[in-house]
Amino acid sequence: MGILDKEFLQDNIVVTNLDAMLRWARVASVWQTTFGLACCAIEMMATSASHYDFDRFGLIPRPSPRQSDLIIISGTVTLKMATRIKRIYEQMPDPKYVISMGSCSNCGGPYWEHGYHVLKGVDRVIPVDVYVPGCPPRPEALLEGLLKLKEKIGNESLIKSA
């Protein structure tokens, strides 16, 4: 981030630019919609519990999509659920991010051929930022995906035009 590279003029005062400060704040607090679908959700809950603890990366589950920056699609997306996921996604305020967790939400997983009820990839209804492979992915894999997302957020700017 480089925020602490700047000069300390007085005690407790950091001089930096607005862009770097906003970036630092956004990367350090990615709030996530409380939302789980299938077995991947169990793994996601394990990731958020004390052993792996993704709160240390600033991820806090929020009870409402309107307070969230991130939604983790953790599990099989059925056609019935897909319309609901789209609605939840649309309720989230910009800027918003999506992590697709596990084979099912990446591409349909084991249901790719005979799953009459499964959407073959959540990216058919909402845009995905990071795909985490696995069935289900280990908590380490989900954390890796989260760090990749943080990298992406850290390279964005809300002020400078791209």
């Binding site: 056609l79 051929e113 009459y116 009820h117 073959k120 209804v125």
Partner: protein, 176 residues
């Protein structure tokens, strides 16, 4: 506790008539085949008769017997005409410790049979599932509507052997 033969004998005496009640011992489990129109009456009898007292339904499931005439089209898909769909009833008496499997077979073109949802409440959602996935209509069911598939699903019944998945559902592409 009663054996399969004893239960079969009791049912045959109670519901007289040709082919009303038939015992089948050729499968992995012994099955009593019942005429579809009688299933509600048989169920009422099985739960109320003190010597049988089938107070619990373990499971109700629908099956596509795939015994009709197959017509294969050029792209490899096929349609089935004629034949039957079946419903299996797995029952248990928690007091007398005996079990029983019943079966009814209804014609594929008009799969209608009486509901037993008011005999065993377990059957309520199970009959909805059989209706949802195979299209078997249970007459007298209190709330027969789809349970797993979306309410606006109009592409047929997915567990029928000749089911074809739609290309699109509500603008979402379905095939891989």
């Amino acid at each position: 506790m009663k054996t399969f033969e004893e239960i079969l004998q009791i049912l045959k005496e109670k519901f007289e008539g040709e082919n009303n009640i038939e015992g089948h011992k050729d499968g992995t489990e012994d099955v009593i085949q019942v005429t579809p129109s009688l299933i509600k009456a048989v169920s009422d009898f099985l739960i109320s008769e003190p010597d049988l007292n089938f107070d619990s339904m373990i499971l109700l499931s629908g099956v596509d017997d795939e015994n009709g005439e197959k017509t294969t089209s050029e792209d490899g898909s096929f349609t089935i005409t004629g034949g039957t769909l079946s419903v299996y009833y797995h029952l248990e008496s928690t007091t007398l410790k005996h079990k029983l499997v019943l079966r009814i077979s209804v014609p594929r073109e008009e799969p209608v049979c009486p509901s037993v949802a008011m005999v065993w409440r377990t059957a309520d959602w199970h009959e909805r599932e059989a209706y949802d996935l195979l299209g078997i209509v249970f007459e007298g069911h209190p709330d027969l509507k789809r349970i797993l598939m979306p309410y606006d699903w109009e592409f047929g019944y997915p567990l029928r052997k000749d089911y074809k998945n739609p290309e699109f559902y509500n603008g979402m592409k379905v095939p891989y």
